[in-house]
């Protein structure tokens, strides 16, 4: 049951924004961005309502409300009151397959299920096993129209769907000429149409203004005394000349556009600035082509140099930043190393103090001096005494 049901569902997607409405909806229900009735309405902190998709797109570019330009974040957008959503969802829309013939109109929230499950004109998959073609739902009950059949006249394989069109072109069949009603085999019909004496055609000079038209067989007589036809060669010549001149004019205008710089050339002093631009303007009219080329060349060179300077500036800034970074990193490393060295020096100083103290003890002929290093932390009293002496020795060294 389930698979047969799903195969009858249309995969045609419905673009809610492209729907046509039965009556034009109130302007209050339109999204200020897409100008269509709201789809999934949301409300901003400043109480404006938009389609959810529209405001997200807008916030990607600018974090302001499109209506009053107040600052706005993605978090300031919340679903609009249910009532608004209901109002827009209940608007009556026409079926998107209206052009194919569906006359259904329904509430907007129903239109997707209408197309998916009911619309007779929605495209669904052909029911035949293994066929990939699509067919309108109303024709799905009949046999598959995608399989090939043999044309009864030319024996060629033709899809059933296209057979009606094929009969009009099949080389083994004849069709009637639209104008003289005589029958011709299909392959010859095209050639006949060019010479059919009964076809109504325009005078040969119609594009120069002659409004005469008659059957082909009677046109010759008109042509012999038509003024427009007599004038055709000269008119043709004029048209061609006008076209060439227009082309030339266009080229010249483009050149002029290039010549007139988008901003005035930099000059010393503000007073000189405007007068130079005016000179430039008046001179531009009577400049020889050589001068124009030269000015254009100068201007483009100036533009190029300016962009070069800008590029170099950017590079210098980048290098500056890089160098600052490198210096900072190096500084950190040196700091670490310094700390290491300082610790090592402190260790050495401690050892030196101890050595000096022990030497002094030996020099003083202390009994326990020989056992100095070994008896550290020995008996508590002896230890204390020795430590005191060590401390005093350190003070001596420090002094």
């Amino acid at each position: 049951m389930a698979p047969s049901r799903s195969s009858k569902n249309s995969l045609q997607s419905v673009d809610l924004r492209a729907l046509d409405y039965l009556t034009s909806p109130s302007a209050n229900l339109l999204c200020p961005i897409c100008h269509a009735p709201l789809i999934t309405p949301v409300q901003t902190r400043c109480l404006h309502t938009f389609c959810s998709a529209c405001i997200s797109l807008s916030l990607e570019r600018s974090l302001t409300c499109p209506v009053d330009r107040k600052p706005l974040n993605h978090d300031d957008v919340t679903p609009a009151p249910i009532m608004i959503a209901n109002l827009v969802n209940d608007l009556v829309v026409l079926c998107p397959n209206r052009e194919k013939g569906c006359t259904t109109s329904c509430a907007r929230w129903l239109v997707e299920s209408h197309v998916r499950e009911d619309c007779e004109f929605a495209a669904i998959k052909c029911a035949k096993e293994g066929c990939d073609g699509m067919v309108e739902r109303r024709e799905a009950e009949g046999e598959c129209v995608h399989e090939e059949v043999e044309c009864a006249f030319c024996q060629g394989p033709i899809r059933k769907l296209d057979i009606e069109i094929h009969y009009k072109e099949c080389p083994k069949l004849s069709s009637d000429c639209r104008y003289c009603s005589k029958s011709f085999p299909n392959p010859e019909l095209g050639a006949h149409k060019l010479i059919c004496p009964d076809e109504v055609i325009d005078c040969a000079a119609s594009h120069f203004g002659c409004s005469y038209s008659s059957r082909r067989s009677e046109l010759d007589e008109h042509l012999s005394h038509c003024h427009f036809v007599a004038l055709t060669p000269i008119l043709q010549l004029h048209t061609e000349r006008i076209e060439t001149l227009e082309l030339e004019n266009k080229a010249v205008r483009q050149k002029l556009d290039l010549l007139v710089p988008p901003r005035p050339l930099p000059t010393q002093g503000s007073g000189a600035n405007s007068s130079t631009a005016n000179d430039y303007n008046s001179a531009g009219r009577d400049m020889t082509s050589e001068m124009q080329d030269y000015t254009y060349h100068l201007y483009s060179e100036y533009e190029q140099l300016r962009s070069d300077v800008e590029r170099l500036n950017a590079q210098i800034r980048e290098l500056d930043v890089k160098q600052d970074m490198a210096r900072f990193n190096e500084g950190l490393r040196y700091n670490d190393e310094m700390a290491g060295v300082r610790a090592a020096i402190n260790g050495l100083r401690m050892q030196l103090h101890w050595l000096v103290a022990s030497r002094r003890e030996t020099g003083a002929g202390g009994a326990g001096a020989a056992a100095g290093p070994r008896s550290i932390g020995g008996s508590s009293v002896g230890g204390d005494g020795r430590r005191m002496s060590v401390d005093s020795a350190r003070q001596v060294v420090k002094l």
Binding site: R17, A18, P32, I33, C34, H35, A36, C54, L57, S58, E60, R61, S62, T64, P66, V67, R69, D257, V260, P261, P262, R263, P264, S270, N273, S274, A277, N278
Partner: protein, 149 residues
């Protein structure tokens, strides 16, 4: 790509209820490209002139502003020799809630109220500040030479 419904609606409304003094007609072969003509506002140096502009709606319109350029030469401190317009709503202050008609109205208003303090054409703006009557006379002269209807 199909034309978004919003552009179709805007075009229909521009044709059905045109703004006084402004005309915008889409090209037959490219419905995103409009030929625009704006009448110079009354009591301005551009009065009596009809200025031609081109307007193009980019692919992501209305998220990005339309591109507009004057085709008729005009002497105005905020419009340069190439016809480019210095107007905040056409750049940073664009909002997708704005439309073709509101933008064209803003341009018409700009003709009525030139702003030499935010110039695009430096020489014109300079003159406007130093010798306003002279600048206005030139603008009027240019209107008669280039923008005669």
């Amino acid at each position: 790509m199909a034309l978004p419904k919003r552009i179709i609606k805007e075009t229909e409304r521009l044709v059905a209820e045109p703004v006084p003094g402004i005309q915008a007609i889409p090209h037959d072969d490219n419905l995103r490209y409009f030929d625009v003509s704006i009448h110079g506002p009354a009591q301005s140096p551009y009065e009596g002139g009809v200025f031609k502009l081109e307007l193009f709606l980019p692919e992501d319109y209305p998220m990005t502003p339309p591109k507009i350029r004057f085709l008729t030469k005009i002497y105005h401190p905020n419009i340069d020799r190439l016809g480019r317009i210095c107007l905040d709503v056409l750049k940073a202050n664009w909002s997708p809630a704005l439309q073709i008609r509101t933008i064209l109205l803003s341009i018409q208003a700009l003709l009525g109220a030139p702003n030499p303090d935010d110039p695009l054409a430096n020489d014109v703006a300079q003159r406007w500040k130093e010798d306003e009557p002279g600048a206005i006379a030139t603008a009027r002269e240019w209107t008669q030479t280039h923008a005669a209807p």
